[in-house]
């Protein structure tokens, strides 16, 4: 199933803010609580930043895509890139709180989201971040039928 919302951006950090607005807009349309939304935005932003910085090594001509979907009370965000193979679950995450520069992106992603999954698929990295919402979030109702008119 494709996500209800998909965005693809060039791998330049100038587009991160737009991607964050999209995630925010996605959550807002589903009435996700503001604080929960803020955290989710951080996690997705970290995943996208890592692609730009590490998977593509700063090559801004390459593209990264984000697919957002809601099902029952779970939100899923799938980040896909065509960069070097990298499984974020294989990586040991150093303890936070230390005075070092960097190395907090994966930690934030894992801490904020309920589930992080990885698969390599025909030259693409695909990271799926999932978050179960409580209280029950309205799923995208009626997406499969006629529910609006003029």
């Amino acid at each position: 199933m494709p996500g209800q919302v998909e965005i693809t951006i060039a791998g330049h950090p100038r587009w991160l803010r737009l991607a964050r607005s999209a995630v925010e807009g996605f959550c807002a349309a589903l009435d996700v609580a503001e604080q929960e939304t803020q955290s989710i935005v951080v996690a997705v932003d970290e995943a996208l930043s890592n692609v730009m910085q590490h998977a593509y090594g700063g090559d801004c001509s390459r593209r990264v895509s984000l697919s957002c979907s809601a099902r029952d009370n779970e939100l899923q965000f799938e980040i896909r890139d065509q960069g070097v193979a990298f499984n974020p679950l294989d990586r040991d995450v150093p303890p936070p709180g230390e005075l070092r520069s960097g190395g907090r992106g994966l930690y934030l992603m894992r801490t904020i989201m309920d589930r992080v999954e990885y698969r390599r698929e025909g030259g693409s990295n695909c990271v799926r971040l999932s978050k179960t919402l409580d209280p029950y979030v309205r799923p995208a109702q009626g997406e499969a039928g006629k529910t609006h008119g003029h």
Binding site: H12, P13, R14, L16, R17, R20, Q35, Q38, S39, V41, V42, D45, E46, S49, M52, Q53, P95, P96, G97, L99, R100, S101, G102, R104, G105, Y107, L108, T111, I112
Partner: protein, 110 residues
Amino acid sequence: MDINVKRDGRRSIVEVVGDIDLYSSPALRETVLDLFRKRGQKNVIVNLSNVDYIDSSGVASLVEGLQEAGKRSARFMLVGLQEGPRRVLELTLLLNVFEIHSTEEDALQA
């Protein structure tokens, strides 16, 4: 993101407006490190009251500021922390690592 620096003797206030992310954090990092390295500042206050978003690269810039201050026995403080950035510092267990004040005035008197 816009950065505005008010310098007064060996003390500087760095006012940031906008999101601090991978796109904008390099400019913040450079500004802060320059104040210590090139301007010999003894006290740098970063005002984050107009910052609603900070990511791990922004946190890294602030940590580097703090480290640089440490090397030079200078001070590095944050003021005006909003809810979102506060939560990110909390999640990364850095909330107690930084010297944080509510306002510029509080920081100047501390």
